[in-house]
């Protein structure tokens, strides 16, 4: 979606391919020095490096809010369901209060879990920007060990990005699908 919007907004992407981690990290420094915003570039790898290996900023996300919101919604539905049915048909059972917590907990727990799981899945898809309908700038050699530094920026700055990547020692620089 981001890529589609980027294309519509006149953004273009370019990826520089590096053979080692230090060159890729240097490229990020160079992009920063050339006044590219941190949300305009990202590192593409075939291995999960520890966060910040290349000096990239930790992604800002709201991943933990999704399960929390889902859990609250699910809990509320479970609570309303149990309280509603028990108040709707008030029957004293075993001398216990009409609103007895232990039997209510079961339905509330299932509601909470369901809400949390559903919202987590939605959150994951949203936060990971999946599905990625268009690849943007990408190269299969990243799978084979190359480290990609992808820059998505306005059309007039693509050439600047290419220059920075080349100067930083990129073995190859490739434009994204939007070039066509």
């Amino acid at each position: 979606m981001v890529q589609v919007l980027s294309a519509i907004m006149g953004h273009r992407s370019v990826v520089g391919l590096f053979s080692d981690e230090d060159s890729a990290a240097d490229a990020l420094d160079a992009l920063q020095a050339a006044n590219f915003e941190s949300n305009e570039y990202e590192v593409l790898t075939g291995t999960p490096y520890p966060d910040g290996t290349f000096g990239e900023a930790e992604p800002v996300h709201k991943l933990y809010r999704f399960p929390l919101v889902g859990a609250i919604c699910g809990f509320s539905v479970g609570l309303l369901l149990t309280v509603g049915t028990q108040l709707g048909w008030p029957m004293v059972t075993g001398g216990k209060p009409i609103l007895s917590i232990p039997p209510m907990v079961i339905v509330m727990y299932e509601g909470t879990m369901l809400g949390a799981i559903i919202f987590t899945v939605i959150g994951i898809v949203f936060e990971s920007r999946l599905p990625r309908l268009f690849m943007g700038a990408y190269d299969d050699s990243i799978t084979e060990g190359a480290i990609g530094v992808a820059v998505t920026t306005s059309q007039d700055r693509v050439e600047d990005a290419e220059k920075v990547l080349n100067k930083a020692g990129a073995e190859r620089v490739k434009r994204g699908w939007e070039k066509d």
């Binding site: 075939g46 291995t47 999960p48 990239e56 991943l63 933990y64 369901l114 936060e127 690849m135």
Partner: protein, 452 residues
């Protein structure tokens, strides 16, 4: 053992893509025939309809066993990944693939919706049927909902874990846009953000999987067995079943590891480290089984009300005494008196044989519980068991159903490994980032880092 990350990837993808030998196809055909035999068994059993619950005890036991084993197996990957351990990296996919087998379990569950009578038979349940205006088939609805949530969560974890590996396959096989591989990878490109999210989301979903697993076991244990036995009131029984799922889940992963190691020729990735690690876990879970069982037993035994004595007779000392003794020995005694020996624990054959014992013990335990429970289904509305029925032996149809059910699970798993890499490639590559061999005085030691 290949050293560099690229070499690991090439090796594992190469191993995955290479054609399977004739043995794989012969075994697949045999398993398919056995699965069909299971379907025939089901049809034979179905001729008597769902009305006679006591005829379906073995079928329900089969479902309970498959659900316990396949549902518990992914916990091996989830728990060890949360602990940030390195040794389980090569077994995480082996355990996650069992989510697909759980899908097979859902198919087995469908007839159980008709086998379990609705609550109008007067049995006592958690749902206060007749007092609160709940639907008479509330157990069926809630269990189905819980089971589907659990399996979907497991499949989602599997998909998340698979995404980078599918991308490797996609790139290395030049898959075109629109193919199933391309779609399954959902446009994964390995950006820092995607790796970051993957790390966190697998952890969150893993925690949810665990919480749902416990809950679904609670529902199945209570609604599909305990409430059918009049006078059986045991707060620990549901959690015992959840625990047993973890125990047999670990045992199932050990057995699968053994098969993948020898038949898939992954000796370099499934080493003694993995067998020793899971062996210790299985040992601990076997000790815990005794604690749960004894805590349940002592309450009924000391209470000694007629209703409690009948329950003990039905489940332990009566018609299924030998099944109970065998299950007790295989689930607790054998692991206790074998796994305490270091040479046995520090081997590949040792934990595998013990896992086999636990696996068979769990089968017998499910048969003991579920066949016994369904044998008194006609007394479910009473306050206590009036007479304990004699042993229900498996009929020809039951034997076919069990053979077919187990064969179906193995077949589903084998076919899944045909499509999806059985060793997690990205985790192996990640391991290479943190693994260094250094000289330490006169020896060479392995130094492992930990991402924080």
């Amino acid at each position: 053992m290949v050293d560099s990350r690229d070499a690991v990837q090439k090796y594992l993808i190469g191993r995955h893509l290479e054609p399977r030998g004739s043995r794989f196809f012969i075994v697949s055909i045999i398993l398919s025939v056995l699965t069909i035999a299971g379907i025939v068994g089901f049809v034979l059993r179905f001729q008597d309809g769902f009305g006679q619950g006591d005829l379906w005890g073995y079928y329900v036991a089969l479902f309970a066993f498959i659900f316990a084993a396949a549902g518990g197996a992914p916990m091996v990957a989830i728990s060890t990944r949360i602990a940030k351990a390195h040794w389980p990296r090569s077994i995480s996919r082996i355990s996650e693939l069992f989510s697909i087998v759980s899908l097979f379990g859902i198919i087995l569950f469908i007839p159980m919706i008709w086998i379990l009578p609705d609550m109008e038979d007067g049995r006592r349940t958690l749902w206060f049927f007749g007092k609160l205006n709940v639907p008479s088939n509330l157990p069926h609805i809630l269990t189905t909902l819980g089971l589907v949530s659990l399996v979907l969560t497991g499949l989602f974890i599997l998909w998340l874990s698979l995404m980078p590996d599918i991308r490797f396959l996609r790139d290395m096989s030049n898959t075109k846009k629109g193919s199933w591989l391309y779609n399954l990878s959902a446009g994964w490109i390995g950006s820092s953000r995607q790796w970051f999210m993957q790390r966190h989301r697998i952890g969150i979903l893993g925690a949810f999987y665990f919480m749902t697993l416990i809950f679904v076991h609670f529902l199945i244990a209570v609604d599909f067995s305990m409430t059918l036995v009049p006078g059986w009131i045991d707060a620990l029984y549901p959690v015992t079943q959840a625990h047993n799922s973890l125990q047999v889940g670990v045992a199932t992963v050990v057995l699968t590891m053994f098969a993948v190691r020898y038949f898939g020729h992954y000796q370099d990735y499934l080493t003694i480290d993995q067998f020793r690690g899971l062996g210790k876990l299985m040992f601990a879970l076997s000790l815990l089984w005794f604690w749960f069982w004894f805590s349940s037993f002592i309450v009924l035994w000391y209470g000694a009300k007629p209703s409690e004595k009948s329950v003990l007779e039905l489940l332990m000392t009566g018609p299924y005494i030998w099944v109970f003794i065998a299950a007790f020995v295989l689930l607790f005694v054998v692991p206790l008196f074998t796994m305490i020996w270091n040479p046995l624990r520090r081997s590949i054959w040792g934990p595998t044989i013990i896992a086999g014992c636990v696996f068979i013990g769990a089968i017998l335990d499910k048969i003991r519980i579920y066949v016994a429970s369904y044998s008194v289904i006609d007394q479910a509305g009473l306050h206590e068991i009036e007479h304990v029925p004699s042993t229900i032996w498996p009929g020809f149809a039951d034997i076919l159903i069990w053979i077919g059910g187990l064969a179906g699970c193995v077949l589903v798993y084998m076919l899944a490994t045909r499509i999806l890499p059985v060793i997690n490639i990205w985790e192996q590559k990640e391991l290479k980032l943190y693994q260094v061999h250094k000289k330490f005085h006169r020896i060479e030691v392995q130094v492992l880092g930990k991402p924080e």
